[in-house]
Amino acid sequence: MQAISTAAVSPVYNAVDVDSDNALVIRAREGDYRAYEMLFERHRTLVFRFAYQMCPRRDDAEDLVQEAFIRAYQNLHRYRDEAKFTTWLLRILTNLCTDHARMANRRQNLEQQEAAGSLTWMTEGFTENPIENLEQERRVDCLRRALNALPIHHKTAIILRDIEEREYTDISQILGCTVGGAKLRVLRARRALRDRVAPLLGEM
């Protein structure tokens, strides 16, 4: 009775609720594919950004994002409302990226580095000063290489915490560990990054 009266009094609340991730998930579970497309359009940028940081090659990242959304759709009935939908999605994507990285480590990734370099060259350009621009480009390139050289678990922790700026509770759910464990992983990953970046940048 309480819910019925609330619904009758505040339709705005209901309108907001209908558009929430959980409501869209419920609709998609019931067969409304349009609801799932709304979820996809809402989160694809975030998911692609994460995938691209994990795997800095555009086509691979897009394939990973597509696979993550397919798996999420096929397993919607397993999604629990305890976690945010994006957290659950990023967990699926993290597992996919980990598998992908393991396979990629076995083959030569020269082409990957070239693709990342050309992308950097095309997209960089923060300042008008060409010398400063070059220096900034060098720093970003060093950082990218250092990040890519990290083990996949360190890389995941750095991207989640320091690039995507997720909360530790989210990170713990994505990585499947406790909050304390997530903090420890992030700290270790930062140590590893610092140790790799310092020689490249000639600092510290």
């Binding site: 067969g31 594919y33 096929q74």
Partner: protein, 253 residues
């Protein structure tokens, strides 16, 4: 610089700790630490500025991929099969423990064992718990004794040159039911099995009266002989006691 201080600097630089007092203290004491904090902050800033191209994954591509891949388990919300895996295991366990219980109750050594009458009228076995000895073994011929071995299991009848011998063994000692004719022994065995299956505790110490072990259709004028575990000092054979009234006997182990 100590490792703990390096970790603290990492946490300050990446924003996990915002202890301004501690930062001020570091600023006054260690210029190296402040320089490192600034450097790490730059790293974090550069990390967040790493270029990411625009996502070109379209809804149409995703829809085609989902259709090509299949809808998977989306519509199947039933319980997975492995959740039912405990059922055959449970059935096997119940069967095993049940058979073990019956077997152990059969192997329990009774102190006294005998037989009495089960008056049978029709296919069901009726057990008379208070018969007289006249009801037991009505047409027992007076022949050589036959020892019944393992009276609660399948009747394995052994013929020896010396004498027919059916004995029940349990552990080191044995308890033997002696009857005086082979047909009577068979009927006694059948009745005992019926009792053992229908009331497993009867043989295991439940204190069932010995009349419950009676065979059906045994004449009352026959006697039974019980052979105990005590040995005769002269002959070395087990001592036998002939029983004519079994109304006061109970079985138990």
């Amino acid at each position: 610089m100590k490792r703990s201080q390096k970790d603290e600097i990492l946490q300050i630089a990446f924003g996990d700790t915002n202890d301004s007092a501690r930062i001020e203290q570091l600023r006054e004491t260690s210029h190296e630490a402040i320089r490192e904090i600034e450097s790490l902050r730059n790293i974090k800033l550069n990390l967040q500025q790493l270029p990411v191209p625009e996502c070109q994954l379209s809804t149409e591509r995703l829809r085609d991929a989902i259709l090509n891949t299949g809808l998977g388990e989306k519509t199947t919300s039933s319980q997975p099969m492995w959740k039912l895996a405990w059922v055959p295991v449970a059935v096997l366990a119940v069967t095993f423990f049940g058979s073990q219980m019956i077997r152990s109750s059969r192997l329990t050594e009774p102190t006294l064992m005998g037989a009495s009458i089960v008056k049978e009228e029709g296919p069901d076995v009726a057990i008379d718990f208070n018969p007289t000895i006249q009801d037991v073994f009505p047409d027992f011929p007076d022949t050589e004794p036959i020892i019944i071995e393992n009276p609660t299991s399948a009747p394995a009848i052994k013929h020896s040159n010396r004498k027919p011998n059916y004995a029940s063994r349990s552990g080191s000692s044995r308890t033997v039911l002696l009857v005086k004719s082979e047909p009577a022994a068979k009927s006694a065995l059948t009745a005992m099995e019926t009792v053992a299956v229908s009331t497993p505790s009867a043989l295991g110490g439940g204190g069932l009266p010995i009349e419950a072990m009676a065979p059906s259709g045994v004449s009352s004028d026959s006697g039974i002989v019980l052979i105990g575990s005590d040995r005769d000092s002269m002959t070395g054979a087990n001592k036998a006691i002939e029983v004519t009234d079994t109304s006061s006997m109970v079985t138990g182990g």
